[in-house]
């Protein structure tokens, strides 16, 4: 790596909200270096040798957890996985005690996912070691936004001035919120597209444009991000049916033509084909969905590496 003078002010990555433009760029630049490493035959580098990364996941997750695990291993760290269903914690050990236990076991990083917003912030106050937010409630999922930025930048060579549409369950999406912070901070125009029942209060105050119509929302955009629709939204009364959702908000080949010719199609996964996106689009030439997954590894390596560089 050629980043000789690393400056990263916090020991934690709690959210994009707290990051400066420079810090975001530093992470993306660092990730570029690791992307090269990942393309080598021997994909392992030594900077975190002797360090331990604890994955603490209170919500089911395969891709994010695996991505963090692999990222840590590529950096030569040891990895331990704690998968705790929330219910057993409610009945038994408190989150605080779980976290202190992990610290006492000698972990240097905690990668935390939790269904309650603010849990990483709470741990950050309790623990001395680095906390990485891998998704908290409907708050933030910062590494997802960073890998999205990285993917966009690698295609478009810039973020500033791009028009990005985010379509889907904005009200319950930490991916949407982190991307809104990241994209607006780097100067992109962000449009959010969803039915009014899924539009969070006051979202306009975050500097985005809101659309109830997908046709208007994606017109002439450079990037389209579709979000996973949690299937239980239907039973909770947000939507009359998934079929109607697809009819009104699904990203189809016909609608994709309204965007710029070279528009990228993204999705944080896992996808519900035929609900938020058609298979034709998901597997089509404009889709970068699998590339996002690969880039996720490089970005998470960069985050671990940069936080590991903070003297604690």
């Amino acid at each position: 790596m050629d980043n000789k003078n690393i400056t990263f002010k916090s020991k934690d990555l709690l959210g994009i909200k707290d990051l400066s433009q420079e810090e975001i760029s530093l992470i993306l630049d660092t990730a570029s270096g690791f992307k090269d490493v990942l393309e080598r035959d021997i994909k392992k580098v030594p900077p975190l040798r002797g360090k331990t990364v604890a994955n603490l996941f209170f919500e089911p997750s395969t891709r994010t957890r695996t991505s963090f695990e692999l990222a840590a291993k590529r950096l030569s760290a040891d990895v331990v996985n704690f998968s705790v269903p929330t219910s057993s914690v409610v009945k038994g050990e408190t989150l605080k005690d779980t976290a202190l236990t992990i610290q006492a076991l000698g972990a240097d990083f905690v990668v935390i996912r939790h269904s309650s917003s603010g849990v990483p912030h709470m741990l950050s106050k309790i623990l001395d070691i680095s906390i990485i937010n891998a998704g908290d409630g409907a708050n933030e999922h910062p590494t997802q936004a960073l890998l999205d930025l990285f993917t966009i930048r690698s295609h478009k060579k810039k973020i500033e001035g791009l028009s990005v549409a985010i379509i889907g369950d904005i009200a319950h999406s930490r991916v949407a919120l982190s991307n809104i912070y990241a994209l607006t901070r780097l100067g992109a125009e962000v449009r959010v597209v969803c039915p009014p029942t899924l539009m969070p209060a006051g979202i306009g105050e975050l500097g985005v444009k809101t659309f109830g119509s997908i046709e208007e929302g994606i017109k002439d955009t450079d990037v389209i991000m579709t979000l996973r629709l949690q299937l239980e939204r239907q039973s909770k009364g947000f939507l009359p049916s998934l079929e109607e959702y697809f009819t009104l908000y699904g990203l189809t080949a016909g609608r994709l033509k309204l965007a710029k010719k070279d528009a990228m199609v993204m999705h944080p996964g896992p996808m519900n084909r035929g609900v938020e996106i058609s298979s034709e689009v998901a597997d089509g030439p404009q889709s970068v969905i699998l590339e996002q997954v690969t880039n996720g590894l490089a970005v998470r390596m960069a985050v671990l590496y940069l936080l590991g560089g903070v003297k604690k």
């Binding site: 605080k96 269904s115 006051g202 979202i203 975050l206």
Partner: protein
């Protein structure tokens, strides 16, 4: 034993007094008020120089947690916190375990308060059995054993017919029904106020409408039944508007708000500090301004604490999982004084809203310094600064969002039934 309080600025809204006066206490009662320096000889004197001497404060809305939740608070610790905060009377809410829905529980509370309490305790009986919202409690028996009002506080009475019956039935005893206004479907799963702050924090929001819908419903039911309705912990601009209109139409409604609804707005939650979690939630600055306007123009009659102590372990959790509530008895008056500093209300209005008016609502003979009244008096230095330190609270509940705040107004002494407590 006669005690004379001298050199203080006596403010008693019940007699429109504001000036230098001497107050003579004999036994448990106030013997008389005299022009400054003209009081008679007494066995001992209290020098209240630099202080205001006011009726002991009366809190319409306290959670003493006993019986059932003694790890959060007891009648002994809660009433001690009250006394330290200048309160000499508190109304304790019925959401204990068991719920205060029978004479036995009411009698237990009253007896316990008599033995261990530091100030007067007036139990509020539950409106419905077990606070389940299904069938009325025996208002008659509860009233007889000492309940001064009825409320299912902590929970709304969702069935409009039951609420109507409660309001109608309460008229037999001429007691107020205190309504916790919340539409539980609209507020379901909510952890804070709904708005741009809940969006940026990723926390489920509770819209203002969840409160206002029930305020509107209960005002209409009050009009229908011609009963006495008291709206608890008003937090939104819309509620203030509805209550103002109801009063203008002659409907017999009174209302309270709490210090946290005029001292904080939802931007404070940025830290995910669970001590800011309260129900109803801390609202926006626009609501705060409306609450202040409501206090100023008399729409909001009372400042109550909604003192809701919790154990630190319960608050030291995920924001979603932490119980709502603020330990408020020991900061209420100082926070109220900020309204005076801001020119929202004057000192006399503040004192009335925290002593005389709540006493009138529950029809107790407190909140006054009249000759013959109970010797319940707070002596407060309105200029003396202090830093809020929950470690020094008498309450078991250290859950205050005001930790570290620099406030003015220290309670120097509290007199309850002639007994003087001094706070160093």
């Amino acid at each position: 034993m006669r005690t004379l309080i001298i050199n203080g600025r006596v403010i008693d809204p019940s007699q429109e007094i504001d000036g230098q006066r001497d107050i003579l206490i004999e036994g448990a009662h106030i013997q008389g008020i005299y022009p400054g320096g003209k009081g008679p000889k007494a066995d001992n004197t209290i020098d209240a120089s630099g202080c205001i001497v006011i009726p002991g404060l009366v809190d319409l809305h306290t959670h003493l947690r006993e019986p059932g939740f003694e790890h959060k608070e007891t009648i002994a610790t809660g009433t001690m916190a009250a006394l330290k905060g200048g309160f000499t009377s508190v109304c304790c809410m019925p959401n204990t375990d068991p719920v205060n829905d029978t004479e036995a529980v009411t009698e237990y509370i009253i007896e316990k308060a008599f033995k261990e309490g530091a100030c007067a305790v007036y139990p509020v009986g539950s409106i419905t059995k077990g606070q389940k919202g299904e069938s009325l409690t025996e208002f008659g028996a509860l009233r007889k054993s000492g309940c001064i009002a009825f409320s299912d506080d902590g929970k709304p009475v969702t069935d409009s017919l039951i609420m109507r019956r409660a309001l109608e039935y309460s008229k037999i005893f001429d007691v107020p029904v205190i309504s916790h206004c919340e539409d539980p479907q609209l507020s379901r799963g909510g952890a804070m106020n709904e708005g741009v702050m809940s969006t940026t924090l990723g926390l489920r929001g509770i819209p203002n409408a969840a409160e206002e819908i029930m305020v509107a419903r209960d005002i209409f039911l009050c009009e229908l039944t011609w009963s006495r309705l008291h709206i608890a912990h008003v937090s939104t601009a819309g509620s203030v508007r509805l209550i103002r209109e109801a009063k203008a139409n002659g409907i017999n409604v009174t209302a309270e708000t709490c210090p946290h609804y005029f001292s904080l707005n939802d931007h404070a939650l940025e830290s995910y500090n669970t001590n800011l979690k309260v129900n109803p939630p801390i609202r926006t600055e626009k609501d705060v301004e409306a609450i202040k306007q409501g206090l100023k123009d008399g729409t909001i009659d009372v400042i109550a604490t909604d003192h809701a102590p919790h154990h630190a372990d319960e608050k030291n959790r995920e924001f979603d999982a932490a119980p709502p509530g603020i330990s408020g008895l020991e900061t209420a008056f100082a926070l109220g004084l900020q309204l005076v500093d801001q020119g929202v209300i004057d000192l006399k209005q503040l004192i009335a809203k925290m002593s005389l008016t709540p006493s009138k609502i529950i029809k107790i003979k407190k909140g006054t310094l009249n000759a013959g009244a109970d010797a319940d008096i707070a002596i407060i230095d309105p200029e003396k600064k202090f830093t809020v330190d929950p470690a020094r609270f008498s309450s078991k509940g250290k859950n205050t969002p005001f930790k570290g705040w620099q406030l003015k107004g220290t309670v120097e002494k509290t007199v309850f039934m002639g007994k003087i407590s001094e706070w160093a």
